[in-house]
Symmetry: C2
């Protein structure tokens, strides 16, 4: 698994191959020119462009082939006026040469001469030293999430080790007398733990290391004990429980009682997700999430993700390509006093990308499974009309 090579709390150095999807903890500026020599981009002849001026198929120029460049080898000769050297794609341009003539534009002539059938300009079929990435270029910013091509570029400029943010440990505490784990048969009024697994996946996909603490009885002392321990061993704590007033009051009291500043807010004007509790104890953010699966996802996407970013170090992407435009397939009404989130499926209708609202009671896990994302109807709006363009947050 992961290993630390420096003692810093928030970041460490990983071998390049382990950095896909990780967040850069420092900006990357190239300390080298890439390529670090002028290279040919074609199989052909390295020569002086001036020697080809005016050359055409009917009026060729004549040049003597005086050498050959081999891959990975430095050519220890120079090209003089009227001379050329064979060169492969990627080969180092010999001194004196400033362009490469493709084989296709030559004809052999005698033993060592070629006919030049095309005029070249200096730089034709050559990548200059530093033309790809020049020394001193800011290549990637701190907070950037590394993609495959970024890994290629880091290798290109000679970085075999990369300083990335450590993934923050986030504790998931499931509460409720009725909650049982998935591997156990259901008895009576029991229900299975949905939210721990949903949150586990959401945290993984957003660069955190989730730790499921388990399922705990809805009892003040029990939950307080678990939360107290979690605050000491993780960088964020998520408590998921029922949505009854009693359960939420419990969570609120525990957060308030553990330290300062305690509860920051309770209740947000969004649906689903209204009863969200947010707090902070000794610098560790704590969230009390409502029990409905849909409310958990909305709370995570809209609120928790922003706070998590401060821990993972990931910079917000502008524009966020995870939000796409689509046309609504039918009208939706909404209460203007709150922000509504509606689950939609992305469908293709006559070549148009459309968002089809998913019917059925909100808060159900079956609805989330059928969905590709959510749309937001902002507070102040009474609804969205069929055919109107909406923004879909995919997940």
């Amino acid at each position: 698994m992961e290993f630390s090579r420096n003692s810093s709390l928030r970041f460490w150095t990983l071998p390049l191959e382990d950095t896909c999807g990780r967040i850069l903890a420092e900006a990357i500026t190239s300390t080298e020119d890439l390529p670090h020599f002028a290279r040919s981009t074609m199989d052909g002849y390295a020569l002086k462009a001036a020697d080809t001026f005016g050359a055409t198929e009917t009026l060729p120029a004549y040049i003597k082939v005086t050498g050959e460049v081999f891959m990975g080898k430095t050519p220890y000769f120079s090209i003089k006026q009227g001379e050329a050297a064979k060169i492969p794609t990627g080969g180092m341009l010999p001194g004196g040469a400033d362009a490469v003539l493709m084989y296709e534009h030559t004809q052999p002539f005698g033993n060592s001469d070629i006919e030049v059938l095309k005029a070249l300009a200096p730089g034709d079929n050559v990548i200059q030293k530093g033309q790809d990435i020049s020394k001193g270029t800011l290549l990637l910013n701190r907070g950037h999430k590394l993609r495959p091509q970024d890994m290629g570029a880091l290798s290109a400029i000679g970085l075999s080790d990369v300083v990335v943010y450590k993934r923050p440990i986030v504790s998931i505490i499931s509460t409720g007398d009725e909650i049982i784990p998935p591997g156990q048969p259901l008895k009576g009024a029991e229900v299975r733990d949905i939210n721990s697994y949903n949150l586990h996946g959401l945290l993984l996909n957003n660069g955190a290391l989730p730790v499921r603490k388990g399922i705990f009885r809805d009892d003040y002392d029990t939950i307080r004990g678990v939360v107290e321990e979690a605050v000491k061993t993780s960088q964020m704590v998520l408590i998921t429980g029922g949505s009854s007033v009693g359960t939420l009051d419990h969570t609120k009291k525990i957060i308030a009682g553990l330290g300062r500043p305690g509860v920051l807010f309770h209740g947000v004007a969004v649906k689903p997700g209204k009863p969200l509790i947010a707090g902070s104890v000794d610098g560790i953010p704590i969230f009390g999430l409502p029990g409905h699966p849909a409310a958990v996802t909305v709370s995570f996407e809209v609120f928790i993700k922003q706070v998590l970013r401060r821990l993972t170090g990931e910079a917000a992407k502008e524009p966020d390509t995870n939000i796409i435009k689509a046309r609504l397939t039918y009208s939706l009404s909404s209460q203007p006093a709150r922000t509504d989130f509606i689950w939609v499926k992305i469908v293709n209708q006559d070549g148009q990308t459309c968002a089809q609202p998913i019917l059925g009671k909100s808060g159900l896990i079956g609805t989330l499974v059928r969905a590709d994302g959510i749309i937001e109807i902002p507070a102040g709006k009474r609804g969205v009309e069929e055919g109107e363009e909406v923004l879909v947050r995919l997940f």
Copy 2:
């Protein structure tokens, strides 16, 4: 790391918590009703809706509270006409009750009676047994990539273990006399290995387990030996090397010499990526990739990914939300005889999602780092006009 709990070659069983992003190897049909009992969605009173008919704030109905439902407990009493039981959100509806009245719509009256201030219909504030996911419902298809909400749903229906496809092992073989690894200082005409790391990331992001075999001299016997071993120990082999005619001929000869059917095609009408070689030896797909980083990415996205899907088991997504629509910020010309891929950056212009082509020589790794994706100009088209809508494949 991973562990096998069954002996099948292509799939195995993993604990639910390890399945985020994995591909389902079997369709999931629920063997349970979710919820498996009628539940209240509100804090309030469980009662018979008929007892509330006609009730309003000015003309309330009167009902006796005869019991209380507790979370996770089966209520062993029934609601008779004129009766109600206190119930929390998520509580099991007692026999005889068919609706839940919210606290907000009641007034205490005497010791054990309540005033009902609102009429209810049967089913109000209740999730019926099986209403979320009913027994026998096809929940997820084989080939589906598991998302956080899917993990929640699998837990909900009692699956603590999930059968997923094993990730195919894909060997990456880097060839070229001039190639050195990133951790080594550059000498003379050497260049660093870019493609192995780019491919490593692309494979990881597409559900494969990459194995970088190393960098090998561009020598027939050496490379043949490595490829021969790789064909025996992996499910796919990618050979990346120079783009010179000599190097590509090497790769082609090796694939042809190892087994049947050998080389399937050499050269495709796309740019970049034209010299791609595709073959198959004893059922193992082998690709010889051109040396330019941009050509590697295009070859992977356009050709290799389709073949890889057959190994990872991942079903193609319809519509593919990884492809977004954008307006081109300036005109591009293109050769009608081939498909052109152009690197673009996604930018916001006056609230419109726009694709801004990235200038500079193609094939450079610096270009890929600045890009958010590629657009395709299909064969037959002479270009795309400024403002025209294009499809951007994000990565």
